[in-house]
Subunit: 68 residues, 2 copies
């Protein structure tokens, strides 16, 4: 399994984390999504390496942004 | 129409406001629920005066608390 980590800004509560988890979890090939609310770190496990733009698009769809 | 206002603590984002709006909106007789996220003020319009404990129970059901 491939693992990628991004930092997401703007998440304030468990609802925010759930929104990001759902959107990122909907990217084809994604198996696991772990969200650390205190740091904004989102760790994504997937079958193959994901296009970073697919990740940032999903995060944006949830209403947040990938830092950097 | 009767109007009651409570201050709810712990709401951090629009998702939180939505949760409170949905739970308080489910109290029998409630017509309108306005949530001001920045102040925590929740203004409830209803057919008749509501039991304060029904409001605080609904807020608790959403995962938050009425101040005071």
């Amino acid at each position: 399994m491939n693992t990628q980590t991004v930092t997401v800004t703007g998440m304030t509560c468990g609802h925010c984390a759930t929104s990001v988890r759902e959107e990122v979890g909907g990217i084809p090939g994604v198996r696991t999504v772990d969200v650390d609310l205190s740091t904004g770190l989102v760790t994504i496990g997937s079958e193959n390496q994901l296009d970073p733009s697919a990740i940032s698009d999903a995060v944006a769809e949830a209403g947040y942004a990938v830092a950097g």
